[in-house]
């Protein structure tokens, strides 16, 4: 049988990806340019017995998905930069309480209300450090409608597997443009569910590290009773100030994402013509589409250009960027902000290659020509 295909907006594809991943709860507050995600979820969730709730505000929306996720749901919210700013305290709560959930950020300009209907990529550092305190972060950044579908599925998988909030960042351009989507059949993409406790309720401890760095999570409200708090806590979930327990918890929560095995599992990049490249453009999301166009043009002009596109923004792909830094004469970072990921790239390649930066924040996408000009200037 032929696969189902449709012409969908990125935001619609995001909602369809969430449903494929088993999402059965959406709590949100409408905000441009993400609203179509909520619209599709509102239409589709009731058909499969899921719940959709429009909350009183962005903070309530984040609280609702934490509650739903703890109770056993796969929970989603979708917003844009100003909404993510409001959600930060609770994102931190989801980090320390280790609650699997997915936050979509369809990026627009900023700060504050900024330019609601224009694209931006200025929330990439917010996705890493928006909430206070040491914490791990996973953030994914798809560049096409099909990839928004599959990366939303992967975001749920990673949230469930690592028991933490995962952010998916795309921007107004891919959020609103339409492309053909080929819907994967059930089973074609991996769908991961959180590890349930293997011990009886009376033996259950919500942060029992004898099961590893990601302890099994029971459904809150089931026969498994446990305590949830934003304080540092012991294995039983109750608050503690014991130095060794706090230290162990803090370090474990970073390690579960940043250890080599986890990084290998979480990191995902696409490379285009990097094998023999002398200059590599580092670009993500919709900007990577302009960069790919630029690479083709530069190649026609005899310049050995390539594209490195992180699909996983966080954790940052340090190892591969370092390798490319050794290989090339120069790297050029292209981003729709005034220079954010460039600091990460600089940290890795500053002693190995030249570094250029091309930025744009006026509401229009970086054009291939702007990127080409910067590449030539750096070389």
């Amino acid at each position: 049988m032929a696969k189902k295909i449709a012409l969908l907006q990125g935001n619609e594809a995001c909602a369809m990806g969430a449903l494929y991943a088993g999402c059965n709860f959406f709590g949100g507050y409408p905000i441009t340019p993400s609203t179509e995600v909520a619209e599709v979820m509102a239409a589709e969730l009731p058909k499969i017995g899921g719940k959709f709730i429009q909350m009183e505000d962005e903070i309530g929306a984040m609280a609702s998905i934490i509650g739903a996720a703890l109770a056993g749901s796969k929970a989603l919210t979708a917003t844009s930069g100003p909404g993510v700013s409001l959600k930060q305290e609770l994102i931190g709560y989801a980090c320390i309480a280790e609650v699997p959930c997915v936050i979509i950020n369809v990026m627009r300009g900023g700060p504050s209300t900024g330019m609601p209907t224009g694209p931006g990529q200025s929330d990439v550092m917010q996705a890493r450090w928006g909430t206070h305190g040491d914490h791990a972060a996973i953030a994914l950044c798809p560049a096409s409608c099909q990839e928004i579908f599959s990366e939303t599925v992967r975001a749920f998988n990673l949230a469930e597997k690592y028991r933490m909030p995962v952010q998916v960042l795309f921007d107004e351009i891919v959020g609103h443009m339409r492309e053909r989507i080929v819907f994967p059949e059930p089973g074609e993409l991996e769908v991961v569910d959180r590890t349930a406790p293997s011990v009886p309720p009376e033996k259950y401890k919500p942060f029992d590290t004898s099961f590893g760095d990601v302890p099994p999570l029971a459904a809150f409200g089931s026969e498994y009773r446990f305590h949830v708090t934003g304080l540092n806590k012991a294995e039983d979930g109750f608050p503690t100030t014991k130095a060794e327990l706090v230290d162990a918890e803090e370090r474990r929560q970073i390690r579960k994402v940043e250890c080599p095995e986890a990084r290998a599992d979480i990191e995902l990049n696409e490379e285009y013509m990097t094998e023999d490249a002398e200059v590599v453009i580092f670009a993500y999301g919709s900007t990577a589409r302009s960069a790919r166009y630029a690479v083709n043009e530069l190649r026609e002009q005899g310049i050995k250009a390539g594209l490195f596109r992180p699909i996983t923004l966080w954790p940052f792909p340090e190892k591969r960027v370092a390798q490319l830094g050794e290989q090339v004469k120069a790297m050029v970072v292209a981003e729709m902000n005034l220079g954010q990921m460039v600091f990460e790239v600089e940290r890795i390649v500053k002693s190995t290659c030249k570094l250029g930066l091309v930025t744009r924040v006026d509401g229009d996408p970086l054009t291939p020509t702007q990127i080409i000009d910067q590449v030539k200037e750096v070389l």
């Binding site: 295909i5 449709a6 012409l7 340019p33 209907t117 107004e172 351009i173 891919v174 609103h176 443009m177 339409r178 492309e179 053909r180 919709s286 589409r289 302009s290 790919r292 166009y293 083709n296 043009e297 026609e300 996408p365 054009t367 291939p368």
Partner: protein, 183 residues
Amino acid sequence: MVERYEIRFSGAGGQGLITAGIILAEAASIIEGRHAVQSQSYGPEARGGASKSEVIIGEGPIDYPKATIVDACLAMTQEAADKYAVGIKKGGVLLVDSDFVPRPPQGDYKIYSLPIMRTAKVDVGREIVANVIALGAMIALTDVVKRESGEQAVLAKVPEAFKDLNKKAYSLGFEKMKEVLAG
């Protein structure tokens, strides 16, 4: 380079030109199995003022999703023509509504005109189908998709009760444009 063909539909917000763009993208990517990206203006102009919808069609994956050099442009109003009939490539085409665009912007491209709104009102009896007439005309003008693909995409988009109306509108747009082209 991947060959790309860029079409821009522009007019007043509410005239259905975003829908026309979506239908063309569906004709190319769903019905003909090629690659297409559709984007549109998203500001308040989508509900009034001059709005636009762009479709990029190619035989391979399309990277940069916005227009670079426009192959074909439609302008339904003078305001839209002034704002969006720009960046048309040398040898490209501009189609304007003959009643509503008295001063088509001049350039190194061919300008055609058709009474699109009048055709909707007089020949079909419904102004609402002006976008489908325009779509038929643009497909006739550019041959970017097959006539049948465009019609199939239009009919897949509209409710049963309006299929005949839209079929008539699409054919009228297509044939009137072909008459103009035949001179």
